[in-house]
């Protein structure tokens, strides 16, 4: 009986996820035909609940432990309340983006529950508190607007926070990236990303003269250098790419993009020769098998996990993702592939891509240049981070040790990503919701 239920649930999970993903792209394609999009969004929510129920069926059938039902119901309340509160309190919000956010949070909470019950409890608290803070933030933003002119302040705050980490921070697995306040480990670079996007939007939305570009470039370079010195290479790369993309979008000049990419390549090559920790990351990427006893261990275990479930996955609790060090943090994607299936994991990546494209679509429709720039910046920050963490854990690119937004375990990661998306929901469709209310309700 156990076997039958597990097998059937595997097929259903894969099928439902594929339909959900297809609908993400259908929604992108159908902008403007408001009615059908609203129907699709409702259906997506139903699919989300179906997936959640199927995952818990697997968990309970395999473990025979009814205590997991408590987790199911608490998560269910969060997953029901989130879209309801967002759409009822803020009818202008983008429902498909909220749906995808819930999908990613649900997947994350489920896989973390499978890895560690204790961490699953904490993750549920992080998610709930973060969503509450996020909703409050949207409320204030919509009432009071945002002080967009204070970009120098955002830049200063961000750089200062990073500098403090560099000087005082504790060394965490080779990277100095966090503070510990009252036993709560706090990773500032996750939040400085938001300040960074706010700084660039504020600085570039009115003026794209060369002087302004150079000034912002200097400030951005300062962020990147501090991060490289802190050995937080993943964040350094994100800041760099976000800067290049935002200058390109603000100016509309391809020269900035091409120049930026060339500069990036030069800087990466230089970093390879100057910094031992950059070199060691590249060497692990090129041949993790040579150092499987030491540096290559995590990536090798991640690849074993990634490949062992094949298309449909082994089923929750039936694989061995816990053999990967820090699985819930850096390489949670491999655990998802092992137990929920490769097809599910690949579809999840497409959901991330759809979320990014939905954000860009919002940016294209925005009349306010600040809002357009901010939304594009958020989109790039989000997707590039997904690219770094998933590509790193699957040996597509060198591993840089950033988290998978919404999915990975960790208060800083969850709170900062939710705040970033709520910032978008708080400032978008302010000026133009009268004439193009595409996805309301």
């Amino acid at each position: 009986m156990t076997l039958l239920l597990t097998e059937i649930s595997k097929y259903l999970i894969t099928l439902v996820m594929l339909v959900y993903t297809a609908e993400c792209f259908l929604i992108l394609y159908r902008t403007g035909t408001e009615r059908s999009v609203r129907g699709l969004c409702t259906r997506q929510t139903i699919f989300l609940f179906a997936l959640h129920a199927l995952f818990f069926t697997q968990i309970i059938v395999h473990t025979g432990n009814l205590r997991y039902l408590a987790f199911y119901f608490v998560q269910l309340v969060v997953l029901v309340l989130t879209p309801v509160l967002f759409t009822k309190l803020f009818p202008e919000c983008s429902r498909p983006i909220v749906n995808n956010m819930c999908m990613l949070l649900m997947t994350g909470m489920t896989i973390i529950l499978r890895i560690s019950t204790e961490k699953a409890v904490r993750q549920m608290v992080f998610v709930t508190v973060s969503l509450a803070i996020g909703l409050l933030m949207i409320f204030f933003l919509r009432r009071n607007g945002f002080p967009r002119q204070l970009w120098l302040l955002y830049a200063g705050l961000g750089a200062a926070a990073l500098l403090v980490v560099l000087v005082l921070g504790a060394a965490v697995y080779g990277s100095r990236i966090n503070y510990t306040i009252l036993g709560f480990t706090f990773q500032p670079s996750e939040f400085v990303k938001i300040l960074f996007v706010l700084f660039l939007s504020g600085a570039l939305y009115q003026s794209q003269k060369i002087g302004r570009v150079l000034l912002t470039g200097l400030i951005a370079a300062a962020h990147v250098v501090i991060l490289v010195l802190s050995k937080d290479l993943g964040s350094a790369l994100i800041f760099f790419v976000v800067y290049i993309c935002m200058v390109f979008i603000a100016s509309g000049r391809p020269g900035y993009l091409i120049g930026g990419v060339l500069l990036g390549i030069t800087a990466s090559v230089a970093a390879y020769y100057f910094f031992g920790h950059v070199r060691s990351r590249v060497l692990i990427f090129l041949d993790p098998w040579a150092t499987i006893d030491s540096n290559g261990y995590q990536i090798a275990q991640s690849l074993f996990s990634l490949s062992s479930g094949t298309w449909l996955g082994r089923g929750l609790f039936l694989g061995r993702p816990t053999s990967i060090p820090f699985v819930e943090d850096d390489v949670v994607f491999s655990a998802i592939a092992e137990e929920m299936g490769l097809i599910f994991a690949m579809a999840l990546l497409m959901v991330c891509l759809a979320t990014f494209l939905l954000l860009l679509q919002e940016a294209l429709q925005a009349q306010d240049p600040w809002c357009r720039l901010l939304t594009s910046g958020i989109a790039v920050t989000y997707l590039f981070q997904v690219f770094l963490t998933v590509g790193g854990g699957t040996k597509f690119i060198p591993l840089t040790g950033v988290t998978l937004p919404f999915v990975s375990y960790g208060g800083s990661s969850v709170l900062s990503t939710i705040l970033m998306f709520c910032l978008f929901e708080g400032v978008s469709r302010q000026e133009d919701h009268l004439h193009t209310p595409v996805w309301t309700g």
Binding site: I249, Y297, L306, A337, L342, M346, L349, L383
Partner: protein, 480 residues
Amino acid sequence: MTERTQTARRQAGASHAIFGIGVLFAVLFVSMTAYIGYYSYAYRKELMGNSYNRRTALLEEEVLRGDILSADGAVLAYSEEDAAGKQHRVYPYGAVFSHAVGYAVRDRAGVEALGNYDLLHTALSLKDRIAYENEGKLFPGNNVRTTLYVDLQIAAYEALGNRKGAVIVSNPKTGEIYAMVSGPSYDPGTMEENWETMTADTERGVLLNRATQGLYPAGSTFKIVTTLAYLKNNPGYYTDYAYNCYGSFSSEGETVHCYGGIAHGQLTLRQAFAVSCNSAFVDLGLKTEQDALSSTLKQLRFNTTLPCDLNYKPSRTADPKTAEVPARMQLAIGQGETAMSPLHLNMITAAIANGGELNKPFLIAAVEDSSGQVIEETKVKSGGSLMSAEDAKILRDLMREVVVSGTGASLSGRSYEAAGKTGSAEHAQGDNIVTHAWFTGFAPASDPEICVTIIVEGAGSSSTVAVPIAGILFDTWFNR
């Protein structure tokens, strides 16, 4: 330009930029996703075989490890489930198949390692699996059918006896490995109890598969390589070559003697090859351009990887481009820095037998489900072209002459026409010089079916030790 048009322009520029960024990231993301799917699926067997992957134990909780079968259907390894649900591996032939079939306790080797993924996965339908689940039994894993033949393997195992060395028999037309023996051997069934002593034994090297991982001085078998380089350097003129042997060759302070100090007298290349005259081959080697030798070594895959999934050590030689005369003299007769695995020599011999074309050697012929239905068959794969068809034909003739009138004469007058090359390779072991006996060859010479390579460590003359083993193997194959 008015303020309004400037703004409009900027808006359009921004829209194009956003669109461009969207396309760029979408392409990047889709490529990554496709790569993840491809890599995870295509490399799943290899990744499961890695000894750092602990999922074997997980799979053994639900699947009874499948059988390993010989090419003719005999069971070489199977698993039993005891009352406590724990699996035990049984090897009915004991030590006969030791290195070829390998073992599967703690670490894995041989077919047990190559086929680990398939042995621990089941092709049973869901309905059948539910039936097994209801009976509380493990699912039977898929079976792996090897390319090994029991009669050839036993013949090779018994012929080698308790001596150190290796035997490898293959089909040059496909790359199937028909037999593979390494001495000393071990009983894989006792690995669990004897793990500590076996892995600690570095002196005898019981666990080392000498057929693939043993590196030996190539000795006179390397004259095949020297000849090939000369042929490529002097196309069409090899019949003009002549040499008068006085029993040794000296140059720049280095002297090479013929085996037993025999002066062979006036020789053609054909005669020199047949009697394995060292002096003539040193002369031949020095007359070959260094670039030609270097390119020949490269094409034969010395100093690099081999097209083969087995666990092997790559062969190595001195670099002919930079070597001084003494080193080149040693290289010509396969001594000095030359170190070669029996597998590699067998592959070169197979390519000669197969018109210059190498087929990738393999041990697993097919994966079958527990009822014997074939799920996946290994296809014959090219391992590349090692030489031209003409050069291969000349080498086949030269190797045939070795059996007709040379050092392999004891193989003549049988029901088949064999061809080959002997080698007595000298190896310094402390203060003593030991001589390894080599033979590599194939039969029938006109249309080769099997290809054998033999080395017996420290056994002395190849003609009296290695050649007779080849005779036993050929007899076993042709007198079935």
